[in-house]
Symmetry: C2
Subunit: 284 residues, 2 copies
């Protein structure tokens, strides 16, 4: 039996990125998509405890043959695509609880996101919400993002990377509590000329860069006289010279793989905090 | 000049928890509250890129004298309380961008949350969203939560702990990229009898427990015939015997302080992943 792959995203089930991802990995397994019914950018790990959630079947295809871009015929797994009115995390929870039947998914994939999810964006990203949720259910999980916000971004050059990384994780799994955050750089001139996989500088295993959003709110006045604000902002890499970060790799044309922990404990400060706490205990 | 303290939460500005927190820390600084205009539980680090945000001034008080519970007169800082139609993270971003003027906050506090934010709940918690946002702005940040979901939960016994921890962080700061997630246990018989600070077993510095939500969705049928689901669920501690976890501490009556990282890189797997990636690079 083929492995079962769950896919979700935060751009909604109709986005080009998720549909490209489906095509890339369908030869590797049966695919169940449960994705938001529209854009849910910036939702992070949010879930919806207060609204009734609904599912709508959008597409269903049996396993079968499919002609690949390289002219090879490959067998593909089956596909079910559902839309949901909730967040990316809701989608994964719904897929696991209601759409997999007795099958245990081998993999949860997020993306392909239209836009960067590196650095501190990790925390805001609904695409990362998808894979953190998979990770919290102890399922190997991988997020794919492309540093190109355009609706018609060109995902094609990513194909062999997405395939190899997905195959690798299907074969080897991931350590418990660790998921992968994979970001692809914007290739120079993207949108204007054709690119291929060889235009990437290669793959780098990275750490998350420290960066800061600034100028985050933009103030306007409503015709009725009150103020309102749009969340916008610019991002600054706070350690631009650190060559081991995801931000650096992306700026230099590399595919950045950041292994990401579900356990957010700051172990390195526990000992010092412990010595301070004993003091605190005695004060109360 | 007094230090400036920003406070937000995910239960909304009218919740008892945030108003108790304000009273506890007002003697320590000037306080600006920017909190959601209603409940935003489960929002994690979500922010709102697609809706216009608004602010409403709910309360404003000058600095002044105030009679404390123990009968001591203490000077309190000034207070501004704003409500916002966004998420907990939006509230912090708005406070930093629009409400602090030229002052740099010394502290961001989240809570006091009505309910537990230990274990994997860290990722879903809007209270933790507040302090992660503070942490991402390099401001020392502390989340306080009480394992009691009731609207009229008794926060009083927490007072000396909240005061000492807040004073400690104001005095010593926190390492860059580290915030504190402080959870208080439900005291036996809470709601039925009076408790004091001495009813807690003490304070423990903990790591985040691995745990799992299950039975997360509950299916219903709408009168018009379609299915819908409520997000609910039960939590299981997956390492109940591990005495170094926040879940264990709370179950044994301790106040659990979990130092929490903004850098979620899984450093411990980077070397192995690196050796696998070189293989991957050669396949493409």
């Amino acid at each position: 039996m083929r492995p079962l792959i769950i896919i979700s995203n935060d751009d909604g089930y109709e986005a080009k990125g998720i549909n490209c991802l489906i095509d890339m990995v369908r030869p590797l397994g049966d695919v169940i998509v449960c994705a938001p019914d529209g854009g849910r950018s910036g939702m992070g790990c949010a879930f919806s405890p207060t609204i009734p959630l609904t599912l709508t079947l959008q597409r269903e295809e049996a396993e079968g043959l499919k002609v690949e871009g390289e002219g090879l015929k490959e067998e593909t797994g089956s596909l079910q695509m559902w839309s949901c009115n909730g967040t990316p995390v809701d989608c994964v929870k719904m897929a696991l609880a209601e759409l997999c039947g007795d099958r245990r998914p081998a993999l949860v994939l997020g993306g392909i996101n239209h836009g960067d999810n590196s650095g501190v964006n990790t925390h805001y990203s609904g695409t990362m919400g998808v894979v953190m949720e998979g990770c919290m259910k102890y399922i190997p999980s991988v997020a794919f993002s492309l540093c190109d916000f355009r609706a018609d971004a060109d995902f094609e050059p990513m194909t062999p990377y997405v395939r190899r990384i997905t195959e690798h994780v299907l074969r080897n799994g991931l350590p418990r509590g660790v998921c992968l955050n994979v970001n692809f750089p914007l290739l120079a001139g993207a949108g204007g000329k054709e690119h291929g996989a060889s235009d990437y500088s290669g793959v780098r295993v990275c750490r998350m860069a420290f960066g800061t959003w600034y100028n985050e709110v933009s103030k306007f006045q409503h015709p009725r006289g009150f103020d309102y604000w749009w969340m916008v902002g610019n991002y600054r890499n706070d350690e631009p010279d650190a060559e081991d970060t995801d931000n650096w790799a992306l700026q230099h044309g590399y595919v950045a793989i950041t292994p990401t922990r579900m356990d957010v404990t700051a172990y390195e400060v526990m000992e010092e905090l412990n010595s301070q706490i004993s003091n605190l205990n005695s004060q109360i």
